[in-house]
Symmetry: C3
Subunit: 146 residues, 3 copies
């Protein structure tokens, strides 16, 4: 009987110990997408706990349509590396240099998402992006599937 | 005695089990504010755990003052649906098309908050918003009361 | 024996109780950096759990270089108040009025970070900031060391 009591005490204390570690301290994980990111001084993706912060993805090109496709393809490629897709995007900010051209891409953009599962979003037209020839920059916050 | 011991073991194991579910996996909840959001491809509000991400709320109108009031009224209406108010706003970004006009609304905006409980905020003047007649767009991140 | 059983029950129930408080409700903490923040209606920093939201820090000055240094010095001073540094920045948004001038600061900015530990970042050029003479505004999200 004494033995059983001992074993039980150990279990109880272990249980209490596990409980005390309630809020684990989370640190920033950095996921670089290429060497140019070190040169400029940013990480393409940072992760804190389940949350991903994807740096603004930019593109130029012969046409706005081409830039649009390049940017969204790239955003979704980055998410896929983490097992995430459109379902996991919490928030998008699109910085465009031509809102009318951007709005022509609405249907194309919707095709990246399934079952009407869209993120919160803000779209604004700015004066210019990192390089003068860039047409669109999109950043997202996503939450990992697990 | 054997019975009591059994009961106790069950309690202990149940306790340990509860502890192991420390970090519940959170998914994105979407709260649409109208059909136009499906058409454009965004959700007016997304929720992850306790955090709300409110998409940029826009307005135009006969005057900047009118647009200002429409936007902030709407932001606070949306928060109220979740039992939240100015106390729960963590961060605001205001994208204005006329910073001088926006600054004239400072006192009007302060009236939406109580006891000097203001959010972190960034205000910038951009070239244009979703539609050419829109004057102001405000997005917020808030944390639910519980 | 009866006594030991009692004590053990208390421990078990206490353990279960501790476990049930799994997800503590987090509220917004506000950290004002000066009286002008109350006048305008924002908090220089808000904190939710481990996360810090730093409002856009702005500067003008005789040259872009000067504004650049003022802004980043100030951002890192604010973080230092919370025991944080470049390692803890999750995301940066820089709103510049002159992207070419901003890019000349790339090496200077990298010196604020150590061991290639950079945040996710978005840099855009906007039309103007809070005051017409301001040249740069930088906001960050950081996570506290513990």
């Amino acid at each position: 009987m004494q033995k059983k009591w001992c074993l039980l005490s150990v279990l109880v204390l272990f249980g209490l110990g596990a409980c005390n570690q309630e809020q684990p301290v989370v640190a920033v994980e950095r996921h670089y997408q290429g060497d140019w990111e070190y040169d400029i001084g940013y990480a393409g993706v940072t992760k804190v706990g389940q949350m991903l912060y994807v740096s603004g993805v930019t593109a130029g090109g012969a046409s706005y349509d081409e830039a649009f496709k390049t940017v969204y393809d790239r955003v979704f490629e980055i998410l896929a590396k983490f097992g995430a897709n459109g379902d996991h995007i919490v928030k998008e900010v699109a910085y465009t240099t031509d809102m009318e051209a951007h709005k022509k891409g609405i249907e194309a953009r919707k095709a990246y998402f399934s079952d009407n599962k869209y993120p919160a979003a803000t779209w604004v037209q700015v004066e210019r992006l990192f390089d003068p020839e860039l047409l669109l920059e999109v950043e997202v916050i996503a939450i990992l599937p697990e």
